[in-house]
């Protein structure tokens, strides 16, 4: 069953109540970046120049690049939190002007509100978009999805870093977004927690049919999570390589040979781009 947000009304809630499908696939967003350039200040050079690419529905795309290549800025623009100086971000055929619960961003820090319980934090998006009547059914669903149902009434501060990031994920998913934008959301976690979250987030996004855009400077994270990796050049930021990751789901483990091969291939491209930066005169 495919449910878009537009007809998500009473019938949807009935469906949510039925036990057999607590998680319904949602059609993911389609993103087009059109002739996008960005300059912070007039005196500086552009951080992003002439970006033109598309992200298809349900695709997981990693933006891979060194610090300062503007990848995070680009993600903020997709979220509607920043506006490009030139060009535009088009989602589902419409230019992005402002944040929307239909595409939600996850940040490096989970940024849960420490005066609230886990369930209250997860309910924030619904509360802000005036869907408080959905909180009772939707919040247990999303907490279940991230394996935190037992923690619903605990204070957010009682959870570990990885668990807090899971709550942030539940909070992002509660409003049934069409796209998740991840700004290095696992970088503050220990290696073990990071691996399991990377796998879980990819799995959840695929199960829900979400489009996902992920900003990272970690090659193995890109290989593990993404269907497609855009390797970004810096100064100014632009797409240097568009790489499709063809790994099967069970090969997306750091140990497998196919994974190692793919990682080595991507690492080579990434290193070449990075070296290219160093020799390009700034200006």
């Amino acid at each position: 069953m495919i449910v878009t947000r537009l007809n998500e009304t009473g019938a949807d809630q009935v469906a949510a109540a039925s036990a057999e499908s607590t998680v319904k696939p949602i059609r993911g967003a389609h993103v087009a970046i059109r002739a996008l350039s960005h300059t912070y200040r007039r005196s500086d050079g552009p951080v992003l120049r002439d970006m033109d690419f598309e992200i298809h529905q349900g695709e997981v795309v990693a933006l891979l690049g060194r610090s300062g290549c503007g990848k995070s800025t680009l993600l903020h623009m997709m979220a509607g939190l920043t506006h490009p100086s030139e060009g535009e971000v088009v989602i589902n055929g419409r230019g992005v002007r402002a944040p929307s619960p239909r595409w939600v961003m996850m940040f490096q820090a989970p940024s849960l509100y420490p005066w609230m319980t886990v369930a209250q934090n997860a309910a924030l998006g619904l509360r802000f978009s005036r869907k408080t009547n959905e909180i009772a059914t939707r919040v247990p669903e999303v907490l279940d999805l991230v394996d935190l149902a037992a923690f619903a009434e605990r204070n957010a501060q009682d959870l570990s870093g990885g668990q807090q990031q899971r709550v942030a994920l539940a909070r992002s998913l509660a409003t049934r977004p069409e796209m998740l934008l991840l700004d290095e959301p696992f970088s503050a976690l220990d290696a073990f927690t990071r691996r399991s979250l990377q796998q879980d987030v990819r799995e959840i996004a695929r199960r829900l049919g979400l489009t996902m855009v992920l900003v990272t400077h970690d090659v193995s994270e890109a290989v593990l999570m993404a269907d497609r990796v855009l390797v970004l050049d810096a100064n100014p930021g632009r797409v240097a390589h568009d790489v499709t990751i063809t790994l099967k789901e069970d090969a997306r483990r750091a140990g497998s040979d196919a994974f190692q091969e793919e990682q080595a291939r991507l690492m080579q491209l990434y290193t070449d781009v990075a070296h290219g930066d160093a020799t390009t005169p700034l200006g």
């Binding site: 939190l81 509100y113 420490p114 005066w115």
Partner: protein, 273 residues
């Protein structure tokens, strides 16, 4: 209980009392204060120049205190005072909290208001008294104004500093999830700064309670300050001292209520994991 000593060997230590230690020490502190009071009373009574003031001693004072408590006079004395402090604090909070949020959120507003606010803050509230008396028709109005002037600064500054310490990512997350300005204020900002606001109110209450008594020395014919002045005029020193005790006890209780409210709204964990 661990056997690790928490004070250096040889240092003076109170006996171990387990969970009653806090209560025991509180009672000990009160007993020490009463002892000093009693000694002072003895010294005054034995001094030929001062023996007229011997009614300030604990015995006569407690008798007079029992008198104003049992007749219910304590209510008619403190009622008007509590009303004035309550009104003054309410006005101070109604001005101080919104102004504090605005000053905390807006850099240019903070820069513009910094010097004027610091200047006004350092003026003793009582120095406004002649002006207040001229401006307000009633003494009550003047007293409420003085209390509000005294109380607004701690509330304003504490609120502003709370707002400045709000984690910017809390605001970013709220914006990202579609919060409108109303949500921002009531779901994010106010809960985040609740403890700062209440701490400001607690400080303000302390100042207001101090300013109240001298403000009530003038004009009005009710309240605790008036009761002290009245007792002095009729040379009833035991009654005067009893009112002083009442002022101290009420002030202590009000502060304790503020502490309870702060603890209730405090979301900061003592220990990080």
């Amino acid at each position: 209980m661990t056997a690790i000593p928490d004070t250096p060997a040889g240092a003076f230590r109170l006996p171990r009392l387990g969970r009653f230690r806090g209560l025991f020490n509180a009672v000990l502190g009160i007993a020490l204060l009463m002892g000093l009071w009693w000694l002072g009373g003895r010294a005054v009574a034995n001094d030929p120049d001062m023996f007229a003031f011997s009614d300030f001693a604990p015995g006569p004072t407690l008798a007079a205190l029992w008198d104003i408590l049992s007749t219910g006079e304590v209510l008619s004395m403190s009622g008007p005072s509590l009303y004035r402090v309550g009104s003054g604090l309410a006005i101070a909070a109604a001005l101080g909290v919104p102004l504090g949020i605005a000053v905390g959120r807006t850099t240019w507003l903070r820069e513009i208001t910094n010097v004027p606010f610091q200047f006004l803050r350092m003026i003793s509230p009582l120095s406004w008294m002649p002006i207040a008396v001229m401006v307000y028709d009633t003494w009550d109005g003047a007293i409420v104004f003085l209390i509000a002037v005294a109380a607004v600064w701690p509330i304003l500054f504490s609120t502003a500093s709370g707002v400045r310490r709000i984690d910017p990512s809390w605001l970013k997350v709220a914006r990202n999830l579609g919060a409108n300005p109303f949500h921002m204020l009531f779901v994010v900002i106010l809960p985040a700064i609740a403890v700062d606001v209440l701490t400001g109110i607690r400080l303000a209450l302390g100042v207001a309670w101090v300013v109240l008594v001298p403000a009530e020395y003038l004009g009005v014919t009710s309240g605790l300050g008036y009761a002290i002045n009245d007792a002095r005029d009729i040379l009833d020193y035991s009654r005067l001292a009893a009112v002083v005790v009442v002022i101290g006890v009420i002030g202590f209780l009000l502060d304790w209520l503020c502490m309870l409210a702060i603890n209730k709204f405090n979301w900061v964990r003592e220990t990080a994991h």
